[in-house]
């Protein structure tokens, strides 16, 4: 039963990550992405997926999807029908599932974040409905597979479980909200383990949308640089397998890290712009710290939302400055969007994996293109690859609609 919940009483349970899968423009898999993030490799190139000749920006961080998808329980005739977003999600989930050592199970909650799912199919549907209104061929298939829940159901079929499925669409905080919600489900005793993450594929509607707002930079994005002039879009997916510490120990599972905090807050200032002082961002970070039982002084690294828009970075800088207090002066901060762009609904999940990588590898991901740090940033912007002793990392994700979420991770040794 979803209500009343089972095992709701009792003390909070510890939540660990036993599997993580990732695909970005840096490549597929933990190793490739860890090497890319550690080196500060940028992955931007001209957009090839759709026509951008009339757009202000013409670059993005596109993924080269592999021709062959990994073997799962999906039938071979179904694989070619999977579209871009579902393929990314499947690739990330396959890696996470393999790492975790999980077995098929009837009851495995899935919590995913996305902003637009398989929007390209929605675009195709509309184009055909407008251009050839009496042609209904393939329209039903497009409608079905466009829907966000269908991509999650592909995972259920691929790995042999039956949900339930929860899809959170809180704009660019969706991935972080999904992981945060999964964390809360386990922590509160509602679930023993949860498959979670975020995904989004590049699509024309979204690209044109950000371009219409003049939020896209014509050149690769420069988070927290005084010369920043907008974000660069990317695409990708990240999936994490979360479970109780007790479950992981019982299975003798390899553990990639621990999630210790999640906080969320809603910025009511404007639909697309944050409050200039970053009040909701600060509230989300404080809330996450409260749950984690840590102070800002104990946080060793912040993976900022850092989109490189004028407004976001200014507000986030103000929020981090105030949240960290004196700690800000030597607090390492970077935005991995400098490497892979803004992955929208996938951003929070991919950046969560980047934090786990940094914690495990004991390094800080740099933004190497950053040349002129915004003086508004009192904190230390990571600009060169560097090894570091980090025990606790915080990841910020903020989105349209004032969706603000922060996650805190602890190194596992």
């Amino acid at each position: 039963m979803l209500f009343p919940p089972p095992n709701a009483a009792g003390s909070a349970r510890r939540v660990v990550v036993t599997g993580a899968g990732i695909i970005t423009a840096l490549g597929a898999g933990w190793k490739t992405n860890a090497e890319g993030f550690r080196a500060g490799t940028t992955a931007f190139r001209p957009v090839t997926l759709f026509d951008v000749s009339r757009q202000r920006s013409k670059i993005a961080a596109e993924i080269d999807l592999p021709e062959v998808l990994p073997a799962t329980r999906l039938s071979t005739n179904k694989l070619p029908r999977l579209n871009r977003a579902a393929r990314m999600l499947l690739l990330a989930a396959h890696e996470a599932w393999g790492q975790s050592g999980w077995q098929p199970d009837d009851h495995l909650p899935v919590v995913l974040g996305t902003t637009s799912g398989e929007m390209t199919l929605g675009q195709d549907y509309l184009c055909q409905a407008i251009n050839t209104p009496n042609d209904f061929k393939r329209q039903a298939t497009r409608v079905t597979n466009y829907q966000v829940q269908r991509q999650a159901m592909v995972l259920c079929e691929a790995f042999g479980f039956q949900g339930p499925l929860i899809k959170i669409s809180n704009a660019c905080a969706s991935g972080a909200n999904a992981i945060g919600h999964a964390f809360e489900m386990i922590r509160s005793g509602r679930a023993e383990r949860v498959l979670t993450g975020g995904y989004d594929a590049l699509c024309h509607l979204t690209f044109a949308g950000f371009d219409s707002l003049q939020a896209l930079a014509p050149t690769p994005c420069l988070p927290f640089d005084v010369h920043r002039n907008g974000l660069t879009l990317g695409e990708g997916a990240a999936v994490l397998t979360l479970e109780t510490l007790a479950s992981a120990k019982q299975r003798d599972a390899d553990t990639l890290g621990e999630i210790i905090g999640y906080g969320t807050d809603t910025d009511t200032h404007h639909l697309t712009q944050p409050h200039p002082e970053g009040r909701a961002a600060m509230a989300a970070m404080n809330a996450a710290c409260t749950v984690a039982g840590v102070s800002p002084g104990e946080v060793d690294y912040v993976n900022a939302h850092g989109t490189a828009t004028i407004q976001n970075d200014a507000a986030e800088a103000a929020a981090i400055n105030r949240w960290a207090g004196d700690r800000a002066l030597n607090l390492p901060v970077s935005s991995t969007k400098a490497d892979i762009g803004h992955l929208l609904g996938a951003a929070g999940a991919v950046e969560a994996v980047a934090c786990l990588m940094a914690l495990q590898g004991q390094w800080l991901p740099p933004a190497r293109a950053l040349t002129s740090p915004d003086p508004a940033c009192r904190f230390q912007l990571v600009r060169q690859p560097i090894d570091a002793k980090i025990e606790i990392a915080l990841s910020n994700s903020f989105g349209f609609g004032g969706a603000n979420a922060s996650l805190i991770f602890r190194r596992w040794v």
């Binding site: 039963m1 979803l2 209500f3 009343p4 919940p5 709701a8 026509d51 951008v52 009339r54 996305t114 799912g117 929605g122 675009q123 549907y125 509309l126 184009c127 409905a129 209104p133 009496n134 209904f136 329209q139 409608v143 079905t144 829907q147 829940q149 269908r150 159901m153 259920c156 079929e157 039956q162 949900g163 339930p164 499925l165 929860i166 899809k167 959170i168 669409s169 809180n170 704009a171 919600h181 809360e184 024309h204 509607l205 044109a208 949308g209 371009d211 219409s212 707002l213 003049q214 969320t264 809603t266 009511t268 639909l271 909701a280 509230a283 989105g399 349209f400 609609g401 004032g402 969706a403």
Partner: protein
């Protein structure tokens, strides 16, 4: 039936019957399908048959808020339903006295704005309107509601088939139990646009698509008599579990029912409920199909029946289009606690 610790403090609805729960109640009393309207599908000789929400009875006061300048129909329906459900507590939220959680569930979201924006993109991407794009985002209506209420609290938009609304109720109950909010408003909503009605028709020609919103306001302490007793598991449709089998499992979890207990269903997989011993209302036959909004109306009707002492309890069956079957039971806590 156990004693519920989650109360339904308020309900709200915007539907083809009109603005407010009273209009929905009156339509159900008549127990006859509401009149249908037609909607043009560009380039098509035929017309789509739909049920529109009628115009509001007067100027909607919340539209005077600066954030509401460009809000679409979906946001208007969501905010109106939520405010009706919140009642006087809306003022407590606005003044910061009450911490509100907001959950909006939808399948198609701001589909009219999305269609309009992409049509502009197809004509000339460089000229597509920056005013429209932000409204296409799934969580824009939930954000507008939070802005109107000045509510910084936890705020999720869930996307999925009609069963997502009931998942939202379970999530709200969690937030309340964990102290993350003092009250939670859960809104199910869909927008009527030709593109959505056209898509629905592809799967069932007789579908009469509708739009609107329904809202439940949940609290842990309330003078209200309606309590949330049960939300079943979400039974997913898979290779090994058909829609009919999923519906039967919902029925199994909710139990046999009693002669004085209402069933509010959505008309799908009715065989699972054919031996229901109590009275029954099938909303889509009267209102049309509106996915998450329909699921919300079903719950609104169930709670209204209990609040008006016409039933000691009511069950809701939501058999979604392509994801899950899920059910709920609401009870009269004054009866079930004695």
């Amino acid at each position: 039936m156990g004693v519920s610790t989650i109360f339904i403090h308020g309900i709200g609805a915007v539907s083809p019957a009109g603005w407010g729960v009273a209009a929905l109640r009156e339509a159900l009393k008549k127990n006859a399908p509401l009149p249908v309207q037609t909607l043009a599908r560009p380039g098509w000789a035929h017309q789509l048959t739909v049920r529109h929400v009628p115009p509001p009875p007067g100027r909607l006061e919340f539209l005077a808020h600066p954030r509401m300048r460009r809000v679409g129909v979906l946001s208007q329906h969501i905010i109106a339903a939520a405010l009706e459900a919140l009642g006087q507590d809306a003022g407590l939220v606005q003044t910061g006295v009450l911490r509100l959680g907001v959950i909006v569930s939808t399948l198609a979201g701001n589909v009219a704005y999305s269609r309009r924006f992409y049509e502009e993109v197809l004509k000339d991407p460089a000229m597509a309107s920056p005013l429209i794009f932000p409204e296409t985002v799934f969580n824009a209506p939930a954000s507008h509601l939070a802005a109107y209420l000045n509510s910084p609290g936890i705020n999720y938009t869930l996307v999925g088939d009609a069963g997502s609304f009931l998942q939202g109720l379970a999530l709200a109950a969690d937030w309340l139990a964990q102290g993350q909010a003092d009250g939670c408003v859960v809104v199910g909503a869909e927008e009527l646009d030709w593109i959505a009605a056209d898509a629905a028709r592809l799967f069932k020609r007789s579908t009469i698509y509708a739009g609107g919103a329904g809202a439940l306001y949940l609290k842990t302490q309330s003078a209200a008599r309606t309590g949330l007793s049960t939300i079943t598991d979400s039974f997913l449709y898979t290779k090994s579990q058909t829609r009919a089998a999923a519906a039967r499992r919902v029925r199994s979890q909710l139990g046999p029912g009693s002669p004085d207990e209402w069933l509010c269903d959505n008309g799908a997989e009715s065989s699972a409920w054919q031996d229901w011993p109590g009275p029954r209302v099938t909303l889509p036959a009267i209102m049309g199909g509106a996915l998450n909004a329909s699921a919300a109306w079903q719950c609104v009707v169930a709670c209204d029946l209990i609040a008006n002492a016409r039933s000691p309890g009511a069950c809701v069956s939501v058999v979604g289009a392509n994801q899950q079957a899920i059910g709920a039971r609401f009870v009269n806590t004054e009866i079930s606690s004695t």
